[in-house]
Amino acid sequence: MIRFTNVTMQYPRGGIALRDVSLFVAKGEFVFFTGASGAGKSTLLKLVFMEERPTTGEVRVGGYQSREVGRGDIARLRRKLGIVFQDFRLLEDRSVEQNVAFALQVIGAPKASLRTKVGRALAQVGLSSKAASMPSELSGGERQRVAIARAIVNDPFVLIADEPTGNLDERATRGIFELLSEINARGTAVLMATHDLSLVRRAGFRTVELAGGRVVADSGDGAPLLVEEAD
């Protein structure tokens, strides 16, 4: 489903972010990416949603290959992905409901299904009662839930979360993690970059550790490259 083959990523002015990374993520898997700041976690996730292209090697996500995709393909790929960040990235002048609906509107989703889908996503993240609230009226944990609702409203096959709990207290962190686990249990793969090692240890999911742009440990069972692709 997601395959990195000998991926090296070098930023034009920023040196090498990833070195010869090969890994495979199966459908419905939950994978933590850990490592110190600058280890390459965010770059790895950016390669998955094709914000960046590898300098050498290849990234395949669903049916899309990094060497071949155009801008239109990337837009189509992202409609099948959900992406959340540490800083939530909500539109401050739109209500919770409008923020979630935005993800459907901009891809031209039919109006008839819009309310139902938004209502379902908000129910899933436990924010049905705050549909009309503005982001500024919410706590950090709630804001991240809105971002997650926006990410899952389109039923993605992968949810990418780059340090989603980085700005949250422990309780909110636990809540967000539980939410991501629930989403994963319904069949969506989750790729989560985090610093929070205690969370990683408790969870017991596959963990890929990065250091200096290399994969230094991967708790995934079996050598990643030996797993045949399911897509």
Binding site: R71, G72, I83, R89, F102, V106, N154
Partner: protein, 281 residues
């Protein structure tokens, strides 16, 4: 339509910036419009002077009426010629007396020769054409002498060329300034919505979808700004007519073309600003 909805949301989010953009566009186009107004009036004035370019052919004394009519027909048939008028000695005398009243008693009959006054079509009033026509008329047997104020025609033509070159140069400069100002204004409104654009891209909006509300925005601001500029230019022409000299205003098609030009600049400015932004993110 979702592009219209995004446009309305954008205008509501940044009403001050939108108003500022429209006013900036209006003033940039107003400057261009004022220049256009001046250029138009100078052109009209020069055009009126140019209409006076004529070749005067004096006829031999005692030219027979048939020969005169035949010669007139021949001159009328020249492709460059707009009209030929016969001025008899009596008419020439009357005219001279009228134009130079203080010398009216000096003029006697038969003092002035009969003449053709030949006016040329627009586009043939430059020194080269005038000279060619004058030479051809001079070759007619009934014609004794030809005058056309060679020096004056040449000077005037030179002045007209300078005016045209200056007009084109200034016009291009004003247009370029307007395009740059409008482009910068639209870039500001794109940057004001950078976060929204980033989120659109994140959730899979195509470049075309992202571009659309901005193009509509640019078009709308161009039309409103262009309309305002037209109104200001019209007010200026009214003021000039009232307090300075009578001024001509643009004909309706030209005025409409001006507003359409504003819309086009708005559209192109948006296309460039958003395109540039999308390439960078």
């Amino acid at each position: 339509m979702s592009a219209t909805r995004e446009l309305v949301i954008g205008l509501r989010r940044t009403p001050l910036l939108s108003a500022l953009s429209i006013v900036t566009i209006a003033f940039a186009l107003f400057a261009f419009g004022l220049f256009g107004l001046v250029a138009l009036n100078i052109d009209r004035a020069l055009g009126e002077v140019e209409e006076r370019v004529e070749v005067r052919a004096f006829l031999h004394d005692g030219t027979a009426a048939e020969a005169r009519v035949a010669a007139m027909q021949a001159v009328s048939a020249f492709p460059e010629v707009q009209s030929v008028e016969y001025v008899s000695p009596e008419q020439a005398l009357a005219r001279a007396r009228q134009e130079l009243r203080e010398f009216s008693d000096v003029f006697e009959s038969d003092f002035l020769p009969a003449a053709f006054e030949v006016r040329l079509k627009p586009g043939f009033r430059d020194p080269d054409h005038v000279r060619v026509v004058a030479t051809r008329i001079a070759a007619l047997p009934v014609v004794e002498d030809v005058r056309y104020g060679q020096e004056w025609v040449e000077k005037f033509h030179e002045l007209r060329n300078v005016a045209t070159a200056a007009g084109v140069g200034l016009g291009l400069t004003f247009a370029a300034v307007a395009v740059i100002i409008i482009g910068a204004t639209i870039r500001m409104s794109v940057l004001a919505r950078a976060q929204e654009i980033a989120i659109m891209r994140l959730v899979g909006a195509t470049d075309g979808y992202i571009r659309r509300p901005f193009l509509l925005d640019g078009l709308l601001k161009g039309v409103v700004g262009g309309g305002l500029a037209l109104l200001l230019t019209w007010a200026a022409s009214v003021a000039i007519t009232r307090y300075l000299v009578p001024a001509h205003f643009f004909e309706p098609p030209l005025a409409a073309a001006g507003v359409a030009g504003g819309a086009l600049i708005g559209l192109l400015g948006s296309l460039l600003a958003v395109g540039r932004h999308l390439r960078q993110v």
